[in-house]
């Protein structure tokens, strides 16, 4: 696995807060625009398609989990 999922920040809370605070005062639409730009900037910085694909896969797993949970609740 090329994607690092161990904790890379000395202070992870600072990193999380930095992303949260970037969205302060933005509408949902603006937030979505910000995220789109941020994803592309970070993806370019990583500069490794294999890492990017693994990150996408890890992120998408949440969508699958969420829809499975929904189905289970409906049953």
């Amino acid at each position: 696995m090329a994607l690092s999922t161990s904790s890379n920040f000395a202070k992870p809370d600072d990193a999380f807060r930095a992303v949260v605070e970037a969205h302060r005062g933005l509408s949902d639409e603006q937030s979505a625009d910000l995220d789109a730009a941020l994803v592309l900037i970070l993806a370019n910085h990583i500069g490794d398609l294999e890492v990017l694909r693994e990150a996408i896969e890890l992120a998408r797993r949440r969508m699958v989990d969420a829809s499975q949970q929904q189905q289970q609740q409906q049953q």
Partner: protein, 533 residues
């Protein structure tokens, strides 16, 4: 805006039509469709010594400019066919593209930033001019029998030949052919007769093409706009053609009414806003949707498909006509060898292997360009907006903007190649097309490598760099000797050291390369490249 045909040809009855139905004429190869691909293929085969029957159901060329961008690779091919210089003399040479977002320029690119190539990155030339020059070249070659108003209406595959039924103004007649090549365009009737699948992706967006006549001072560059002030929320493209004709391409809404959009009174104000004046006349207006698709197999029995008949792409990237010409150059030498009996029929299979992979690449690239121009979802549009705004400030953003990635020849992953076994830092890999380079002083001789390849006979050729151990080239192949006097560029472009040798295929692709060639290694590589195992 009456569009008259540029060239009209007469139907002439051929003696084949006077033969008894039970005793039809037989020909080694019949090419169907006298467009750029069919004409080029016929010329290539004829120059290799094959008699060719070339059939076309019409008797004229014309009908708007259609394809307009011809690539460096296409020009190098036409040079080999003896038609390149007229194309370049008439065409508009360009290599710079500019991308605009709104009213301002995002960035510009140069498709051929280096010197030392005989041909430019691209010329713009109306397809009817290209076809007319190719027809002129055909007329110089007695081996080509070009029959206008000969429409193939029946096709039957037999074990060792194909039976065609051809309709003419004098009625139908049968013909036998060892091989048939269908170059009869996107709506190929031969493809339907062969019962071949032609599936792919349909794009809903509509585009309007207008060729307008005006005298203007725009530079000879490809200009592409995202969300221009004159066409809000959509994309637009401007290209110069010869004869004071300008190609304008406007993206329309998917639900725009074609009949309404096409009316000159509706097109005119939009283009006047784009140009800043209305001193222009319409030559041609056309509205189109497109598909990206290809045939599963480019070969059906003894019938081979080339050009739009085999594959279709979106027009952004100039990958339609140029890839069709690459089909022709790929097929001609293989068909010639098989008809001569110097290679087994299996060599033809590599036409499908190599060119269907190229079609996949072209479809992938042009689909990406189209998706970028016409985002399919709100999030896709949002990501594109992010790229366009990042492009103003960052290099990586500029590189992500996709206003059409322009046609470059594919590198073939093919059984005809011999894999590298030595260390290379550059140069064309096996399966890649040969880059041009200037050659040094050769009195009366070629000044470019592409010219040397033609003068050596456009066949299997050894490109031999000087000052290595001497090796006898295999019989029957051409040799181009490169010396130190030829200058650094050719040595650099081929990552050459003393004694380096490249084995080139007859279509100008690399079959194998060696730091220290031996006769045995060359023989093996040559046999492999010729499909002889």
């Amino acid at each position: 805006m009456a569009q008259q045909s540029k060239t009209q040809f007469g139907y002439r009855r051929h003696p084949d039509q006077d033969r008894a139905v039970t005793d039809p004429a037989g020909h080694p190869v019949v090419v169907v469709g006298a467009g750029p691909v069919g004409l080029s293929l016929a010329i290539d085969l004829a120059q290799r010594g094959q008699p060719v029957v070339l059939l076309d159901d019409a008797d004229r060329i014309g009908e708007g400019s259609r394809a307009i961008c011809f690539s460096k690779r296409a020009l190098e091919y036409w040079d080999r066919l003896g038609a390149g210089q007229r194309m370049v003399d008439k065409g508009v040479v360009w290599s710079v593209g500019k991308i605009f977002h709104g009213a301002s320029q995002l960035y510009q690119f140069n498709l051929l930033p280096e010197q030392g190539h005989k041909r430019p990155a691209f010329i713009n030339l109306q397809q009817f001019h290209a076809e007319a020059y190719l027809v002129d070249r055909v007329r110089e070659l007695p081996a080509i029998d070009l029959r206008w108003r000969n429409k193939v209406i029946g096709l039957q595959q037999r074990n060792d030949h194909v039976v065609l039924t051809i309709e003419t103004p004098d009625g139908p007649y049968p013909m036998h052919a060892h091989y048939v090549v269908a170059c009869d365009g996107a709506r190929s009737s031969l493809r339907q007769m062969a019962g071949a699948e032609f599936a792919g992706q349909v794009f809903e967006d509509q585009f309007l093409i207008a060729d307008v006549r005006m005298t203007a001072e725009f530079p000879t560059e490809r200009w592409f706009w995202f969300d221009p002030p004159f066409h809000a929320g959509r994309s637009a493209l401007l290209h110069k053609q010869p004869d004071d004709i300008w190609r304008i391409d406007l993206q329309l809404d998917p639900d725009a009414d074609p009949a309404v959009e096409k009316r000159p009174e509706n097109v005119r104000p939009r283009i006047a806003r784009m140009l800043g004046h209305d001193k222009f006349d319409f030559e041609w207006i056309s509205l189109y949707k497109f598909q990206c698709r290809r045939m599963d197999k480019f070969i059906h029995g003894r019938v081979m498909f080339a050009g739009d008949a085999a594959h279709q792409v979106s027009p952004f990237g100039a990958r339609g006509a140029n890839s069709g010409l690459e089909d022709a150059e790929n097929l001609a030498w293989k068909l010639d060898r098989v008809l001569h009996g110097s290679s087994p029929e299996a060599l033809l299979d590599t036409y499908h292997v190599e060119r269907s992979a190229a079609a996949d690449e072209n479809i992938r690239e042009s689909t990406r360009s189209t998706d970028f121009m016409a985002p399919g979802s709100r999030q896709e549009a949002r990501l594109r907006k992010a790229v366009l705004s990042l492009a103003r400030e960052t290099e990586f953003g500029k590189r992500m903007v996709n206003g059409g990635r322009l046609s470059v020849p594919s590198t073939y992953d093919t059984p005809l190649s011999t894999a590298d076994t030595e260390a290379w830092r550059g140069g064309p890999v096996p399966g890649a097309s040969i880059p041009d380079a200037p050659l040094g002083a050769r009195p009366g001789g070629p000044t470019f490598l592409t010219e040397a390849f033609i003068q050596t006979g456009t066949r299997f050729t050894l490109l031999a760099f000087a000052n290595g151990a001497a090796v006898d080239p295999p019989d029957g192949i051409g040799v181009i000797h490169i010396g130190v006097n030829d200058g650094d560029l050719v040595w650099t472009r081929y990552d050459a050291e003393p004694g380096t040798a490249y084995l080139l295929r007859p279509d100008g692709y690399v079959a194998a390369r060696f730091r220290h060639p031996t006769r045995a290694a060359l023989d093996t590589a040559l046999a492999r490249a010729a499909g002889i195992n």
